[in-house]
């Protein structure tokens, strides 16, 4: 014990004498631990989604695939009657069912007195909602809260927003200006790791008072996210086996052959589901693996760094250690003391690392851009795990320096042969190669992800996304007065054009059933739009014409590009008789030349549509998906209200402020009871690539950390090596070597090692990034400049780390250099 005490006095003195290295060592490991912890938090966050539900093992979502020849949709939602019918017909398999519904609307208007909000997290749910899921009711009775029509449960933050500090229970909210909803429960804020994220859950039975009731028996429209709790005795396969008969029995005859139902485990939704109409943005298991790998790599770099710097520090105390050894401390004791010292240093570094994480944790978001859950300290298991991992890392990284120091023998020291005892030149170089290979890999990932993101955000989509403002109008009075809304807007000089649409172009689309002679009835990706859609988005017409309004002329005389007047005048009413399709649709139908498509039948139940125009392919959804056959259908008066959910307004260049003001003015004039909810199309579309954005951000940070750590390590190891080689350097100086030659030689030797790591990593990076890019149907190509830039910068930064130490050799005369060498 006495010896141990003495050792720590000695070690502390040594640390203080080598303050710079000690600081670099602790900071290096702290930064590494902090980065590892953040990645680990992210990993935990992404992999723990939805695990708070009590019956998670038996909890499934039903999804609906409607496809023919690969065209159609795979929706996360199903028709209204599906859930209850399934539960009624298979009570031995399904214990409970709950549907969630939000009109497929981006927001729903709720008011209380003068407080009016467009709520984006508002759902109607069956009364079994609280029994099926693990959401906790704070006030109210779980069994009754959603049983009556006109009931709603809300979260505490929502209650505060509407009612301040007064009691929320029993208060009455107004939904869409018409329907009263009484607060019957306060539900705890949904955990952040929940794919269902809400502020309001209103009782499903409330919908019976609304026109949407008409869809309750509709087996085509599929707007309900439907969850089932299986009987513990039933297996998912048993349920799955019932689906074909069920579909046959209930779905319309023309649709049934195209429909497949699936069971999707709720625990897998966040990481594995990427369906049409997801209830919220999901994560991606591939990124979880990537971040997991990066976490391990960052920890590895830190450990190597710690090893390098500890070895460098150990070299500075060789003489003292040899003397201590001469005084009777055994090799084993020395080894043990050093390990203990490394473990203590790493524990300290872990503490500093945690403080760093606590500081940055409020700014951390997950892959979907949502805040991460709480602090590291709230994750007790993780905390213990990281502490253990950190101390183990410290011990592992302390083994080599401990061995190195313990191996010095007194005799060798006095014979001047110490330099031969450093068995580790190859080992050291290997560590450097590993460290810089990882840094290079991160660098490549950063450059590639940055370029790909840039490509995705700036790719030519085939339509204009700039200058376009989107106004959600679903459920609002604007839908009813749309012609007036449009007309008033168009009168304003800042407005270039106005159109209406069913979904946000470029973000999402619907699938609708069309009949063609070639394919019969089939569901196609499509969008119902208002007049001037083609013009507003500047979509290029290849052949045919734009939709023409009843007057027989384009609705706007200001710009009539793409319109071939009177060429196809047999279409008397485009609202009922015309569709426009894209090139991919022409190919899918086998019509050959786009001109052949003009006049072909592509009819819905509501009309007798024929193709009036073919547009060039454009990206109607994100660049994660290939362009598919697509139909643009003009809304007739009879389907306006159901289909028009957004109004797109194109504002003239340099008149954005005036244009926005005009939209607000016209909206407020026509719909004063509800505030408008406006967004720029470009901003919305950029958010489609949030995962790529997060990957780019993370890889940028990690690259900076990895390169910094590697350079700290390189700084330490170069100092160590130069110290070891002082005698040799002194000899070379004595013989007549110039200082610059020696500096050049030292720098070159290090850079050669780093160049090896670059050459090793470049092909690995190429393979990994090619693999990542394969996730995208539209992607950049991996060009040599990416690897040259990454390699070049790493070489440059490494040179900076080495040059400082290398220049130390110029400070001394040959004799001083020799005298300070071993």
């Amino acid at each position: 014990m006495q010896t141990l005490q003495e050792w720590f006095k000695f070690a502390l003195g040594s640390l203080l004498r080598n303050r710079l290295y000690a600081l670099l060592n602790i900071v290096g490991l702290s930064v590494g631990i902090a980065a590892f912890t953040v990645l680990f938090l992210l990993f935990i966050h992404e992999t723990q989604y939805d695990n708070f539900h009590p019956h998670l093992r038996y909890l499934y979502r039903i999804t609906e695939e409607i496809k023919q020849s690969g065209i159609g949709e795979h929706a996360a939602s199903v028709p209204f009657p599906l859930g209850p019918t399934l539960a009624a017909e298979y009570p031995h398999l399904i214990k409970r069912v709950t549907r969630l519904f939000n009109f497929q609307s981006p927001s729903l208007a709720v008011s209380y007195g003068q407080k009016k909000f467009n709520e984006q997290r508002f759902f109607f749910a069956d009364s079994s909602f609280l029994q099926l899921f693990g959401f906790q009711l704070i006030e109210g009775e779980a069994s009754k809260a959603l049983s009556r029509p006109g009931s709603v449960i809300i979260t505490p933050s929502t209650a505060k927003r509407y009612f301040g500090n007064s009691k929320a229970m029993g208060k009455r909210l107004i939904f869409r200006d018409k329907f009263t909803l009484e607060v019957t429960g306060i539900v705890a804020e949904p955990p952040r790791r929940s794919h269902i994220d809400f502020d309001f859950i209103a009782s499903f039975s409330t919908l019976e008072q609304m026109p949407v009731k008409a869809a309750f028996e509709n087996w085509i429209w599929n707007p309900c996210w439907t969850y089932v709790l299986l009987d513990p005795e039933a297996s998912p396969e048993m349920v799955q086996n019932c689906f074909p008969d069920f579909v046959q029995k209930h779905f319309p005859g023309n649709l049934a052959p195209q429909v497949k139902l699936h069971l999707q485990p709720v625990r897998q939704i966040h990481l594995y589901s990427d369906l049409d109409y997801e209830i919220s943005a999901n994560g991606d298991v591939r990124y979880v693996y990537i971040f997991g790998g990066m976490a391990v790599f960052i920890l590895l770099i830190s450990v190597i760094n710690f090893t390098n710097l500890s070895t460098a520090m150990a070299s500075a105390r060789v003489r003292s250690v040899v003397i201590i050894k001469a005084m009777g401390i055994s090799r084993g004791e020395l080894f043990y003391f050093h390990l203990l010292e490394a473990a203590l240093m790493s524990s300290f570094a872990i503490l500093v690392g945690f403080v760093m994480v606590e500081i940055v944790s409020p700014f951390l978001t997950d892959l979907s851009g949502n805040p991460l859950q709480g602090s590291v300290l709230s994750e007790k298991n993780m905390l213990a795990g990281i502490l253990l991992a950190g101390i183990c890392a410290g011990i592992i990284s302390g083994i080599y320096p401990a061995y190195y120091l313990a191996s010095f023998e007194i005799g060798n020291f006095y014979q001047g042969h110490l330099q031969q005892l450093h068995l580790g030149k190859r080992f050291r170089n290997l560590l450097l190669i590993v460290q810089f290979s990882i840094s290079m890999l991160f660098f490549i990932a950063m450059l590639v992800s940055g370029k790909q993101l840039d490509f995705l955000q700036n790719a030519k989509l085939g339509f204009d996304k700039e200058q376009v403002v989107v106004v959600p109008v679903a459920g609002s009075r604007i839908v009813q007065v749309y012609p007036e809304f449009k007309e008033k807007l168009q009168r304003h000089e800042a407005i270039a054009s106005v159109t209406a649409m069913e979904e946000v172009l470029g973000k999402s689309y619907q699938t609708h059933e069309f009949y063609s002679q070639e394919k019969g009835n089939q569901f196609y990706p499509s969008i119902v739009v208002g007049h001037d859609f083609i013009r507003t988005f500047n979509i290029e017409i290849l052949v045919g014409r734009d939709f023409i309004s009843r007057s027989g002329k384009p609705s706007s005389s200001e710009n009539d590009f793409g319109v071939v007047e009177d060429m196809f005048n047999y279409f008397d009413e485009d609202e009922h008789n015309a569709v426009i399709i894209n090139q991919a649709m022409v190919e899918y139908m086998g019509w050959g030349n786009p001109l052949n498509a003009i006049g072909k039948t592509l009819s819905r139940k509501t009309g007798n549509e024929k193709v009036v125009g073919v547009v060039k392919n454009f990206h109607f959804s994100s660049l994660h998906k290939q362009v598919a056959p697509f139909v643009i259908d003009l809304a007739g008066d009879n389907i306006h209200r159901t289909y028009i959910k957004y109004v797109a307004v194109k504002i003239k260049p340099d008149q954005i402020a005036a244009g926005l003001k005009a939209i607000h003015q016209v909206w407020n004039a026509l719909n004063p009871s509800q505030p408008p909810d406006i967004f720029f199309l470009k901003e919305k579309l950029d958010k489609l690539y949030i995962k790529e954005e997060r990957f780019k951000q993370l890889s940028t940070w990690l690259t900076a950390i990895a390169v910094l750590l590697a350079c700290i390590g390189l700084f330490g190891i170069s100092s160590f090596v130069i110290q070891q080689r002082r005698r040799e350097i002194g000899i070379r100086k004595a013989i007549g070597a110039y200082d610059y030659q020696l500096v050049g030689q030292i720098v070159f030797e290090f850079l050669a090692t780093i160049a090896i790591s670059i050459f090793i990593t470049a092909p690995i990076g190429y393979l990994l990034m090619s693999n990542w890019l394969n996730m995208f149907p539209y992607r950049i190509s991996l060009t040599a400049d990416i690897f040259l830039i990454a390699g070049g910068i790493i070489i440059l930064v490494s040179a900076l780390a080495v040059v400082h130490n290398a220049f130390q050799v110029t400070r001394f005369t040959p004799m001083e250099t020799l005298a300070q060498g071993w």
Partner: protein, 231 residues
Amino acid sequence: MMNYLLRAVNLSKVYHNGNVQTIALRQVHFALQEGEFVAITGPSGCGKSTLLHLLALMDKPTGGEIYFMHQPTSGLSDKQRAQIRRYHFGFVFQNFNLIEELTVAENIALPLIYQRLPEPERKHKVWQVMERLDVLHKANFYPMQLSGGYQQRVAIARAIVARPQILFADEPTGNLDSQRGLEVMELLSELNQQGMSIVMVTHSQQCVKFAHRAVHLFDGQIVSSVISHLR
């Protein structure tokens, strides 16, 4: 005016270690004529090696001036000093100071590499000197694989391979047995007879006998300079 190849005037060297000052040399005057073989002797710590290092431009004096070929050296840059060491001086260290990672031939070739001699010429010269010093058969050995005698031969070979004007030798026989020591001294004597000037630090009276002149140092000052009659 005498034809001095190397001359030191009022040379002094003080080492500072914190507040402690150690005077290694005090106002030393020294001169070496072309073709001369001078031995510097004296007790341990008297400043012999310090004087040798200063004369060989391997260290910088605290005061005084060193003239090489009548040119003062105090104002020279590190590069110019390295240039003189490279082209005009050779140095034999007491503990050989061979580079462990290089073979015998590579160690010997070092000065020629720094002189940027073309490889064929370099190889030829290295081969010649190895043959002369009887280390040719050890050409591919590493220093650790050699005995002390052979290591000193290699050190001498490295010092003379570029045919320097002055050879500095610091206790060249200090780590050798008497037989090996004698061989080394005979070799130095032979080099001197061929025209190479030599400055040697030694404890050994046997070695002093090989020099033309013995300079005796005591407490950092030259106390005598005796021309050898034995030679």
